[in-house]
Symmetry: D3
Subunit: 191 residues, 6 copies
């Protein structure tokens, strides 16, 4: 964030300046660990309370203990974002799928059409459930949950699948609603 800050959304909502020490430290850690501060965090930085509640929810869903691996959660992220055609989330989380899986082709498949991916039936069922919830959540019934249980998912796993699916249905609307732009670094990463 230099003299001419890059555009991160279509809205004129500048970050608080200077950032509070805790936020500055958080961004520095991102820079160090990821090589960048994700634009979604910069976009939220106009209101530190909003930034913190968003980051807390993100960390709980995507990084905390779960029966789902981090890669599984990221695959849900990309598939949901593909259904909704969210540019920001497909770019950012597509890169993470490539990174976590070490399989660039898998990342592309989650973006383009997850049904062609060479994944096991359990993972496909998980993604099918995420897509069903994304496309027509009101039509999901106990029969759909029983398919997941038949593949060995626990009720807690089902909660987590629904929560991650819900989360990206939220961020997709926010990102598209404000035209959020992904960091350029994601495009070439882990290819």
């Amino acid at each position: 964030m230099t003299d001419t800050p890059e555009l991160v959304t279509a809205l004129d909502l500048p970050a608080v300046d200077p950032l509070p020490p805790e936020t500055a430290k958080y961004f520095a850690i991102c820079e160090e660990k990821l090589g960048l501060v994700p634009n979604v965090l910069k976009a939220y930085a106009f209101d530190i309370d909003k930034l913190n509640t968003f980051a807390a929810l993100y960390n709980d869903l995507m990084l905390a203990e779960s029966g789902l691996t981090k890669l599984e959660r990221e695959m849900i992220a990309v598939v949901v974002s593909s259904v909704n055609r969210c540019y920001y989330c497909q770019v950012a989380h597509g890169a993470t799928v490539r990174e976590l899986s070490g399989n660039p082709e898998l990342g592309e498949q989650m973006v383009m059409n997850y049904r062609v991916a060479d994944i096991d039936a359990r993972t496909m069922a998980m993604l099918d459930y995420a897509v069903a919830l994304t496309e027509a959540s009101a039509k999901v019934t106990e029969a759909d949950r029983d398919i997941l249980r038949g593949h060995g998912f626990s009720d807690r796993d089902i909660w987590d699948i629904a929560s991650v699916t819900g989360f990206f249905n939220m961020t997709n609307r926010l990102a598209s609603g404000v035209d959020m732009r992904p960091n350029a670094e994601y495009h070439g990463a882990h290819r």
Copy 2:
């Protein structure tokens, strides 16, 4: 929550027992202020971190300072939940629209077809934007945001409309994905 706790979701995820003191206090406050503990909070009570991050986000979006009134935010909540046909959210937030507006008919209109409501053009534009983001977020462009600006919404207001819209697109998927059931008390309230 007595001997036979009512069913709040289709999942077997019992609340931590006993609840931590802060959570117990939070639930007691709900009981006192609202006459009930919203089932969504009971549903989350199997994991106190998840409960807290959800509650923090909810409070920031629906109760904190915003250019949107609380009623406007609740109208978005119901209209989004109507598009997604989420039973829990239509019931719970429909009751709040009836309460805040003192107009039971308005609550019904948000549930059944917001386009018939006798609301001003500015409010209708806000709901149209929420619906566009809900139905096909990828098709929303700057032209849609300019319609909002033409009705006097600031860029910060647009962020808030997109955020509230996103939030209920999340909760709708979670609620339908776990078959969350609303408290029975909502049905007759504020009729």
Copy 3:
């Protein structure tokens, strides 16, 4: 209907004045039995032949002898009107479901998402058929009718389900096409 008649549609089509004696008597019976003259009848009163043919069809479908109970027919009415998001019909027939079932929650479920209702498999199959006919009638085949037969519905019952489903697909278009407004009394009734 006093000096300033309430608005029942967006069209300028005043009732014939005075009403013919038979119509006046019919309206008086409605007032006595229901406490109101349904606005759909007032809307049709600009042409007594149209009013009479509509009323005759309504009475035959919803009140005459059938293998379907009156409550079952009203449940179809609300579910079809929910798919089509018809404000008038959801309000008026939602009230009737609440009245006939003595279960306000059931009325709400028919409006908001019938799939969450605690109804038996036979009734759910009936509503699924009504929804399939409403959403994509050309895709309904003998396999769908065989599901109904498997739940014990006779061929005459299938005719009645299709007829009632068809009828509300008609009234939903008429009501939305002329912006018909429901009587205010329905909103608070049978809550």
Copy 4:
């Protein structure tokens, strides 16, 4: 209706036998005037009250006095039935459009894609309104009615457009719901 009656629907609902004198006379008139008894009437003949209420509504909408010509009403019939892909109604009313217009190509266009027809802007607006009501009635608003008014349609005309549109949305569901089959004679007629 001889020894082996042709199949008119997928349901086992034989006509009352013998037909009441008035019905027999009505069918004889059809035979004389049209050269056939429309299968929809034979299908209804298991219950003479239902037959009579249906016929009365049909006659009022399609044959009685209206600002819309009979051809205009039949064009709406076919276009609505094309959106819903109802085999019975496209066949039967397609033949009538060919007959009334003396233009076989127009009948095909109403069935296949009304937007390619060489009709005036007023007629196209009428059909656009019928299609909007058929595809998504809840999204129709006063702005749509004002387009009709701008083309010279009166409020009474708008009622009739909405009524005819609604009627075929009803019959399409009934016909598809019971697999009603059109009389074979329609296919080659007025080509």
Copy 5:
């Protein structure tokens, strides 16, 4: 093609004049065999290379050796064109289905709703696959191909079904994209 050439598309793209001898001969053969030069060929005649590549593909797909009969390929043509509501292709290939089958009703059913046709389960499965590919090709999976194999279709047959389905998804977009008009002679043919 006389002084006032008939309009074949909405574009101002006159045929090369004079036609090269080979093209003139090809058109003369069409005239002799079919009684007309199909308008699609006249439309392409502004560029002889385009005409030739189109005709070569058409001939390979629709006329060359295949496990599918010519009638089966024409049925796919009409059903795909019906899903896409392409006026040109429904008219031209509907006539061919009537001709090849000697069954005018079958031609109408392919246009109006193929699901009502009295065809065997194998043919219906073929058309279901063509429709699935047309409506949502990305959702087609190996399970769909296995249904075809279960009806006795070879892998080569599946290629041909997919190719013919694809071809009409192409021509439907081209025809609608340039408003291509069918030869008037098709309408009354083989009724």
Copy 6:
């Protein structure tokens, strides 16, 4: 194509062996110029006539003289394939957009949501037309073509836009219908 040929489709359709000299030469040229033989050509190689007619059409549409640049035609290819979520075509033509534009981000935008791309209004109008034809070709009218003309596209350009749009609507169905797999080399190319 060595001892264990890679899988290019889900169908068991081996290439003719040995390839005819002209085809072998064509494949050798591909290998030399592109570094690979596109899998679509290998897939077609079970029938040399089909291969040749496909290649001729491809070459005419994508490589021959046109008012559209090669990049513009490739952008249409990817955007159409994104609407249809065709894995093969998004991968192969996404790589070409990256190559021809020298802008990897543009390739991603065509795949993920073309509406966010920073392209001029003329190019956006071209892609909007391609998407309209892909999603609902029957709803495209002269008004849509006039928008293109207003941006300076000639009638010949409109033909080419419709043709390229149609072509990828064909290949998308074929590729998904046979589960065609793209060459692995595309994934990392031109990033």
